[in-house]
Symmetry: C2
Subunit: 222 residues, 2 copies
């Protein structure tokens, strides 16, 4: 039995990555972060998704990333934009995936997991530098040098199964695996009930994904 | 003016690394972590050292690493050993330097720093995998792929100025730069007043360092 740590944001992508890992037969331990994000509904979405898909366990870890500022997702004084402006957007949270993968690596060491699954995607994405395949490969090299498991020559893999898929491909794959996307929250400014704004970059990518996949969009808009 | 984020633990090594960066003329922003460590006196030591050496600012960030368990430094049910047993010791905190460097990277992005300084040492050290030069080089590669600064081709360096120095060399260098080692805390189980046990691996390395440097040991033992 393979044991994996799966980063779970409560959104569409990570739910699909979890479903894929479970379908492969992994014992999946999901991990979500309370990092001061304004869209807190994603934390309860992550808990729901973890249980619904049959993960072996779920943890929520606090990391005070929001105290550093620098992003519209953690700083309520910075507005979430309604359209892309080119370049790296203000919704980018500095070093977020590096921080999340690092903490997943810590958990992987503690529970002796051989894999970390992250649902990043470099096709229909928001242009964040830490979503690219070369970034994932660099983290895997680092992880092998950083850890007891790596030093002892045992396998340790960073698995990004969605990295080259389009949003429509991801949605089709998740549907085949029985993911209930109505319980996922992608919106950058979802309300407390998890209802989406329908206008932010993340809502736009998600909406276009359902349209391209010819799958009815189950998102609850407010 | 170069701007650096300096990881500051409150111990001897990171205090020296900070003094070296300040002597070089860097504007230094120090960063300490409340990660559930049992030796909490190091947090007040870090604040004292940052002010005494003239850093531009100091931040303390919470990250719930201790909740994951897996180390004698964060789990009071695991005893701190009084001598090395070979291999990676139980005082190793899973992925700690990766987590700390990631959060330093986040701060570096927010304040637009071009360098992260970490006082790791691979000579007189406890055998942790994330203290080796190849690990530091791998993190630098990752950092350049992970960040806006890296993507834009601006310099971003992980500086580990102590990595190949002996503990005695570090102490001599720090003395030249005016570091007051009496205000630093290295002990894995220092009491609330910062007084050292004198027996743990970290105390042993520190004591031997002062002896080898022929410098009187200013450590307050209990």
């Amino acid at each position: 039995m393979s044991r994996s740590v799966v980063l779970l944001s409560g959104g569409l992508d990570s739910a699909t990555a979890l479903a894929m890992a479970i379908a492969r037969g992994d014992e999946c331990h999901t991990l979500a972060f309370d990092y001061g994000q304004r869209h807190r509904a994603e934390l309860s979405a992550a808990r729901r998704v973890s249980v619904a898909l049959g993960a072996a366990g779920h943890r929520e870890l606090r990391v005070a990333l929001g105290e550093l500022g620098g992003s519209a997702l953690t700083d309520r004084r910075v507005a979430v934009p309604e359209h892309s402006s080119g370049g790296i957007p203000v919704t980018y949270v500095p070093a977020r995936n590096t921080v999340f993968l690092s903490l997943a690596l810590a958990l992987a060491e503690v529970i002796d997991a051989h894999k970390i699954v992250i649902g990043v995607n470099a096709v229909d994405y928001s242009g964040y530098p830490d979503c690219r395949p070369e970034y994932i490969a660099a983290f895997q090299s680092l992880a092998r040098l950083a850890t007891k498991r790596g030093v002892e020559g045992q396998p340790l893999t960073i698995d990004a199964p969605l990295v080259t898929l389009s949003k429509a491909d991801i949605i089709r794959r998740g549907r085949e695996l029985g993911v209930d996307y109505s319980s996922t929250v992608s919106c950058y400014q979802a309300d407390e009930q998890g209802r989406a704004c329908g206008h932010c970059d993340s809502c736009r990518l998600r909406r276009e994904g359902f349209a391209a996949a010819a799958v009815p969009d189950p998102t609850r808009y407010r």
